[in-house]
Structure formats: C-alpha cells, structure tokens
C-alpha cells in the first residue's frame, strides 16, 4: 500500500507536468497541425488535380513521395517544441530555486514527454492524412513498410528532440537555441555531408549526420531496399548523355537498417546523458 502511494507520488507530478505542458504548447500544436494539413493537402490533393502530373504506380510510392516534407516538418517542430525545455527554466530563473515544489528532473521529464506527445501526434496526423489520400487513389492496400517508416519517423523525432534538448541544456535562451539548432540541422549537416562525400566518396559514410539518418524514413519504403547505398554519376565523357567522363557526382542514399537503428539509439542515449549532465552542472 505504502509502495503504491510512493509510486503514485512519483508519477503524479510528471503526469501533471505533461498535461500542463500540452496545454501550454497547444497554440504551437495548432499551428503545426494546420501546416501539416496544408502540406498533405498540397501534395496529396491539389498537386494530383493537375492532369499531367502522373500519380505514382503504387500506394507505397505515393507515400514515399508524400513523405518528402516530413523531415523538414519534424525538424522545425523539434526545434520549436524542445528548445525551451531546459533553458527556459534558467532564462526565467525558476531553475535556480533552491527548494522547488517539484523535483527538477521530474519537471524536465514531464515537459519533454508532453512535447514529444505533441510532435509525434503531428507526425501521426501527417501519416494518417497521407494514408487517407492513398486509400482514395489506390483502394485499401496494407503494407507493413509504412508502419516501419512511421517507426523510423518516431525514432527520428526522438533523436532530434534529444539533440535540441542537449542544446537547450547549455544555451542561454530559447531563441538562440532555436536558431542554433536550426542552422546546424538544416544547413550544417547538409554542407558537411556534401564536403565529406566530395572528398571521401564511397570510403566514408556520413553516419555522423542526423539528416542522413533521417533518409531511412523514406528509403525503408523502397522495395528492394536501396543497394548499393552509394551511387555515383560520371559525366563529361563520350557515353550517352555525356556519361563516362572524369567528372563525377556521388551521393549516399541511406544508412543500412541495422546501422540506422543502432545510431538512432546511440545518439538518443548520448544526447540525453550529456543534457542531464550539463543540466546538473548548471544548477550547481
């Protein structure tokens, strides 16, 4: 009985924080909800209205094409939802309270879970609406790879959120965290990937890149899974279309499934451990 009450006392503050955080962030959620509907309607309905725009051959191909914006959407959502989790506590000086009414780790955990529920809901709505349009065009087709894709999208969101939470643990305010993480995730990784591919070609896979790991969301839908995962085009030669020359352009398509899952988990653990450590140090 006493043990049950202890567990209840331990979980209740987290639950209350989750509910409170969801209420606090509801305007952001409504905004992303509308953006999601707009993107899916544009891709899944308005674009298809153009007669000359050929519908994909299969439901899965349609889904794969429709998921083109999911990485952008999750990236922006992660930056906007998770940037304030830790740094807002210090920005508003609540993080410095010596005898807080609620354990600070429980508070951060509750805030994190609340935001995570909202972002995963946005991803789920995206998949649901796209699936609904797919049902309209292709009839009832069940493909387990769409579920795998959703699983990777959730893992990707958790990884991005842990990355942003890490930055939130040492940055001074929310805006700086948003801008920094957006620049790194949107531009930083993209430029680094291009340089690395240009220099090392197929010798070095950009597994450090969070953006590259996100490619698994769409590549898992392909049947068969992309193999080889590195493709190179040469041009400037005498072959058809100028192919076969010394100029070449290479690109890594996707990490392997096993490596992708491993890295997702490793990054999530590392970012959270670092964030917790920095948060603890900051309180001292």
């Amino acid at each position: 009985m006493q043990r049950e009450e202890t567990i209840k006392d331990g979980i209740l503050p987290i639950y209350d924080t989750i509910v409170f955080e969801i209420k606090m962030q509801r305007k952001k959620f409504y905004f992303f909800f509308l953006i999601t509907i707009l993107i899916v309607a544009l891709i899944g309905y308005f674009l298809v209205l153009i007669p000359g725009y050929l519908l994909s051959d299969t439901y899965v191909d349609f889904f794969s094409g429709g998921l083109a914006f999911i990485e952008f959407l999750t990236l922006f959502a992660a930056c906007l939802f998770f940037s304030g989790i830790i740094c807002s506590e210090f920005d508003k000086r609540t993080g410095f309270i010596v005898f807080p009414k609620i354990n600070k780790y429980k508070l951060i955990l509750g805030k994190y879970i609340g935001n995570l529920i909202l972002v995963i809901s946005i991803v789920a709505i995206y998949y649901f609406l796209l699936g609904l349009f797919g049902l309209w065009y292709y009839g009832p087709v069940i493909n387990v790879r769409i579920l795998y894709s959703f699983g990777f999208a959730v893992l990707y969101v958790i990884m991005l959120s842990s990355f942003v939470t890490l930055f939130s643990s040492f940055m001074k305010n929310i805006n700086v965290t948003i801008i920094t993480t957006l620049i790194i995730l949107l531009i930083g990784f993209g430029i680094a990937d291009q340089i690395v591919t240009l220099v090392f070609k197929d010798a070095f896979e950009p597994l450090y890149s969070l953006a590259y790991l996100g490619n698994l969301i769409t590549s898992i839908l392909q049947n068969p899974f992309p193999d080889p995962r590195y493709v190179e085009f040469s041009f400037g030669g005498m072959g058809p279309g100028g192919m076969g020359g010394d100029f070449s352009f290479g690109s890594w398509i996707s990490p392997s499934i096993e490596m992708g899952i491993t890295l997702f988990v490793v990054y999530i653990v590392v970012f959270f451990v670092l964030a917790a450590y920095l948060f603890k140090r900051r309180q001292l």
Binding site: P51, G52, D57, T58, L132, W136, G139
Partner: protein, 323 residues
C-alpha cells in the same frame, strides 16, 4: 490606414476575380464538346462468372476466355481479380499515321508493318507521305494507367503494366475519319503493284464493327455524357452488328453459335462491366468493377464528425467554465 485596407481589399477581389473567371472560361470552353470523366483513382475488376463448358460450346472450343480476349493473368478463373489505377492524362493530337499504328492495326498487322517498313518506305509509304496524303489530325485525351493483371491470389506490389493507355477522342466522329482514312490507305497499298504480294496478305481492311471491337481492347475510353458519346460513335461509324444503349456497347458475334458481348462504361469513362451471353441470354463470362471510394468517404466523414464533436465539446465546456 483606411486607404491601405481598401487597396488590399481591391487587390484580393481582383485576384479572386481572375481565378473565378479563369475557372469559368475553362468550364465554358470545355462544355462546348464532351467532358472528360477520368478521375485519378483505382478500379478493381472481378471475374464473377466463367462457365467453361458454356464457353466451349458457344464461343471457341480451343481458346479459353483469357486467350480469346487476350486478357492477361488468370482471366479464365472465376473469382480472379485485376485492378487499374488511373495515373493521369494529357491532351494528344493523333496524325493519321499515329492512328494507323496505334488504333487501326491489329497486333499482327503492326508487327508486319515494322518488319516490312523498308519495302513500304521504298514504295513511298512512310510517316511523312501518309500524313501528307491524309492530313487530318485527331484531338484526344490520352490517359495513362497502371494495371495489375488478373490473379487468383494477392496482387503483386508493383503493377504488371505501368503505362496502360486510355484513349478518348474529343470528337467521337474522329473514329469514323480514322477508319475511313486508314481503310483508304490500306486499299491503296493493296492495289499498289510496287508492294510485294506476300506483304499484302498481312493487311486487311477493317469494318466498323471490327474496328470498334478492336478499340475496346486498345484502351477505348468514353467522354461524358457516356450514353450520348457512345451513341454518336456507333451511329457515325454506321456499325452493323454493334449497338449502343445507354453506356453499354453490345456486340453481336458468331463463334460456335451466336453470342453477344456487352461492354459497359462507368462515370469515369473506363470499362465498367464486360458480359458475354449466349443466344438464350445466359451469362457465360462476366467481369464487374468496383472501387473503394466509399471507404475513403466513410473515414473522412467520421473524422470530420469526430473533430466537430470535440471542438463543440471544448467550446461549450469553456463557456460553462467562464460563466
């Protein structure tokens, strides 16, 4: 401030006006002729009946339904299913040469034309000369669909044919022009002494009934209103053994005994049902179509209803709390 608002309102109204009139003019220009009914969607075809004994006794003792109609997959098995996804369409203009190759020729004639192309070119029958001799052009809607062949089991993930054509002439009288021009051309070739006699054996004139029957298997589609369109096609071609009733074409044919084939077209303009009947009217072979639009609309309506219910509940609760 007021002026700025006025300007903004005027600008918005102008933009809306441009879009509205643009849409209106598109509709007006399109309504002068038949309308295209194609919609990007999937239609599933099911063989609901195949009487093999009846088939052999009435139509062909050797070839089964699959081989006879050149349907692909398990088209001779009752319960087998096939599906077609309409992917898109474009406006396309056919020349007489295009129509000859893609609509008029049977598969064997098409192959023969390609094999003996050198001889035809030497005799003065190439794309340029044929189009110069018969300069008509025919405007059509050319649809592309992905097609899964008939199968007893589960569909394969990828379609068997990713570029299955759907051809709908904007003016139904064009079918008559195509038939007349192509028949005239084939007559000319058959009477041309420069063409080897052996080559001539590969080509024949088509009757209107044969031409229309062939079109059904070449992706013939119907513009809307379908009944008027089909009626005009049949009357223009002056078919003898083919009639149009509503959105159904009825072909009277002879195999072992007389039989009829009824081909119906749906609101999208694509094949809807395909029924083969013997002289007594008993069904020997029947294909019907269905789609899953109702599932989509059921889910959509449910989602909208739930959303409205939740929003109403939240609004009412908030108002009560405020009071």
């Amino acid at each position: 401030m007021m002026k700025r608002r006025m300007r903004l309102s005027l600008l918005s109204l102008s933009l809306l006006g441009i879009i509205f009139f643009g849409t209106l003019f598109t509709a007006v220009s399109a309504s002068a002729t038949y309308q295209l009914g194609l919609i990007k969607s999937t239609e599933e075809y099911t063989i609901i009946q195949y009487d093999d004994e009846g088939w052999k006794a009435t139509i062909d003792p050797i070839l089964n339904a699959k081989e006879f109609f050149q349907f692909q997959g398990d088209a001779n098995v009752a319960g087998a299913k096939s599906k077609q996804t309409i992917k898109g369409w474009v406006d396309q203009t056919y020349t007489t040469y295009d129509a000859l190759l893609s609509l008029y020729f049977s598969i064997s004639e098409y192959l023969a034309w390609n094999i003996y192309q050198v001889n035809f070119t030497a005799a003065g029958y190439n794309e340029t000369t044929i189009n110069a001799l018969y300069p008509n052009t025919y405007d059509a809607w050319y649809g592309v669909s992905a097609k899964w062949w008939f199968t007893e089991g589960e569909y394969e993930e990828t379609p068997n044919n990713t570029a299955n054509p759907i051809i709908i002439m904007k003016d139904p009288s064009d079918y008559k022009s195509i038939l007349d021009n192509c028949n005239a051309l084939i007559n000319e070739i058959l009477n041309d002494t420069a063409i080897n006699m052996i080559i001539k054996f590969s080509f024949l004139n088509n009757t209107a009934d044969e031409f229309l029957w062939q079109l059904v298997f070449y992706g013939f589609g119907v513009a809307q209103p379908g009944a008027d369109y089909l009626g005009e096609v049949v009357s223009d071609l002056t078919c003898v053994n083919t009639t149009a009733s509503g959105s159904t074409l009825t072909f009277e044919k002879t195999g072992v005994t007389d039989y009829t084939v009824e081909v119906s077209y749906g609101s999208k303009g694509t094949l809807s049902t395909f029924v083969v009947k013997d002289v007594l009217g008993d069904i020997i072979y029947e294909i019907t179509s269905s789609n899953a639009d109702w599932i989509f609309f059921t889910i959509l309506i449910s989602v909208i209803a739930c959303s409205v219910a939740i929003i109403t509940y939240v609004v009412v609760r908030n108002r009560k709390l405020k009071k």
